[in-house]
């Protein structure tokens, strides 16, 4: 791995993103629009809105970054630029961490805008500080990036890549404790829920909602999600082959 190549790769990905104004607008505006919908669904600010909006601040970046990354990486594979890069001194981590860094920067902007809207426009209240919410939201974005990079290896077309959303993302949303509290789930469902990374991200966010100071449960959640990011990136690196049939 080389610092300059990693930074050049991140810069290149951000430059590609910059030329795609519509995607930038979607990245920034869509979470705010969805918060607006939630706000009116729950008849304005209040405890129920607080609970759901807080979890949503973690789910939006995860879903959006998963989609953006899996398509971007698939384009890299199908355009031949990936094969070309693998014949150059660029190492696999340069590429994967380059993607992680570039979309991590995009996620920072997205998370900051969504949180600003949630706290200032929609009057979200949390016991803990907003920076922890943004931090966990960005970590979730990285989880989306890492899983997106991994899943793109198993898709040949953009149609197939999009199909990983219902397969990989939606079960995590259903089981993360947003719809049914995990304690009320059947034993096997609760167990399944515990092995899905998004569950731990949501738990960490809920801890920030309930406690003014970071708690041990929050740090455990953050640690598990961080571990999953590293694991998924490692597996994604294993799917990048310099030699192919």
């Amino acid at each position: 791995m080389s610092g300059p190549i990693l930074l050049a790769t991140s810069g290149r990905i951000l430059r590609q993103l910059r030329r795609d104004r519509r995607t930038i607008a979607m990245l920034i505006v869509v979470p705010v629009l969805l918060l607006f919908l939630l706000y009116y669904m729950f008849d304005g600010a209040g405890q129920r809105f607080d609970g759901v909006a807080l979890v949503m601040l973690g789910i939006f970046p995860f879903v959006i970054m998963f989609l953006v990354t899996s398509i971007a990486m698939l384009r890299e594979r199908t355009s031949g630029t990936l094969e070309r890069l693998l014949t150059t001194p660029a190492a696999k981590p340069d590429l994967l961490f380059g993607y992680g860094l570039a979309f991590g920067v995009a996620a920072d902007v997205q998370g900051a805008v969504a949180c600003a809207a949630a706290y200032w426009i929609f009057d979200l209240r949390t016991a803990g500080p907003a920076y922890l919410v943004i931090g966990i939201a960005v970590l979730n974005a990285l989880l989306g990036v890492a899983l997106g990079l991994l899943c793109s290896a198993f898709a040949r077309t953009e149609f197939q890549a999009v199909q990983f959303l219902p397969l990989v993302v939606i079960p995590q949303i259903l089981l993360c404790g947003l719809f049914v509290p995990r304690e009320e789930m059947a034993g096997w469902l609760g167990g399944l829920s515990r092995v899905l990374p998004l569950t731990h991200a949501v738990e960490a966010l809920q801890q920030v909602g309930l406690h003014p100071e970071p708690t041990a449960v929050m740090w455990r959640g953050v640690g598990i999600v961080g571990g999953c990011v590293v694991l998924a990136l490692g597996l994604a690196a294993a799917t990048l082959r310099r030699r192919t049939p």
Binding site: P4, G11, R12, R15, R19, T87, T88, R242
Partner: protein, 270 residues
């Protein structure tokens, strides 16, 4: 006479004083290379070698194995048997990655970036700066289009962006898969001049093509059909062997001859 002509025509490509330290032995050496894919034999025990600073044309009908051979030379093809040695190392070795340039058949560049952004990115990957990138853009005649988004360019211009991304590293071996497809005759001429300039500087060039009138611009030709080399020699050898003065006719005749069954004894020796 020979010394005179080399003085008149510029640098002698075989002169180590001009090329820097000579590579011991051939720049490219392929021995009994076999590639099977999905039960089909794509390359069937082929062998050849290329001296440093030479331009070798890889010709053959589509499906003859040209692209597979090129991918094996670059080291991205899983091979079934045989060896591919580049600059004295097994193809695909880490040490070769900044010394071997590869240009794929369809331009592998970022269509949503400008010409300059593409070439500068690949320059950065090779540890080079913007000056080298700008030089490579100039080398392929795209200086005036440098700020344009690559996706808005013509197909021919896009493949020149792809070429610039390889030339920027000043590779010792340049491997080009159909680089002149979609180029108008004038640009094709410019590209061939570029390849000859690179070769005169000591770069070993392999060019695949199915445009036979380009064959005359190579030092040496390999004609591939169904994964075997059915002719190997200089353009003059190939023409005299086929008894014609048109490359098109020569290839048709050699291909028909090989289909008639005499392919193992078909090597033209130069």
């Amino acid at each position: 006479m020979a010394t005179h002509s080399s003085e008149i025509n510029g640098p002698d490509v075989n002169d180590p004083a001009i090329n820097g330290p000579a590579i011991n032995g051939p720049a490219i050496e392929v021995d009994r290379l076999t590639v099977r894919r999905g039960g089909r034999t794509v390359l069937d025990g082929i062998g050849f070698s290329c001296p440093p600073g030479s331009i070798t044309g890889l010709l053959g009908p589509s499906g003859s194995g040209k692209t597979t051979l090129i991918r094996a030379l670059v080291g991205v093809q899983i091979i079934t048997d045989g060896t591919v040695t580049m600059l004295g190392m097994p193809a695909g070795s880490a040490a070769l990655r900044s010394r071997v340039g590869y240009v794929t058949q369809s331009p592998s560049v970022y269509s949503d970036l400008s010409v300059a952004e593409n070439v500068r990115y690949f320059a950065a990957v090779f540890g080079l700066g913007t000056a080298e990138a700008d030089r490579a853009i100039d080398d392929v005649g795209l200086s005036t289009a440098a700020r344009q988004v690559t996706g808005s360019l013509s197909g021919g211009q896009r493949s020149r962006v792809s070429l610039a991304c390889a030339l920027v590293a000043r590779p010792e071996v340049l491997i080009l898969d159909e680089p002149t497809v979609g180029q108008d005759p004038l640009l094709r001429e410019d590209l061939w001049d570029r390849f000859h300039t690179e070769a005169a500087g000591g770069t070993t060039v392999i060019v695949s093509s199915h445009v036979m009138d380009e064959a005359n611009r190579c030092d040496r030709l390999l004609l591939l059909r169904e994964g075997t080399i059915i002719a190997d020699g200089t353009p003059a050898d190939i023409l005299s062997r086929a008894g014609t003065d048109s490359m098109d006719e020569a290839f048709l005749s050699l291909i028909r001859h090989s289909m008639a069954g005499g392919r193992s004894t078909d090597e033209v020796t130069s």
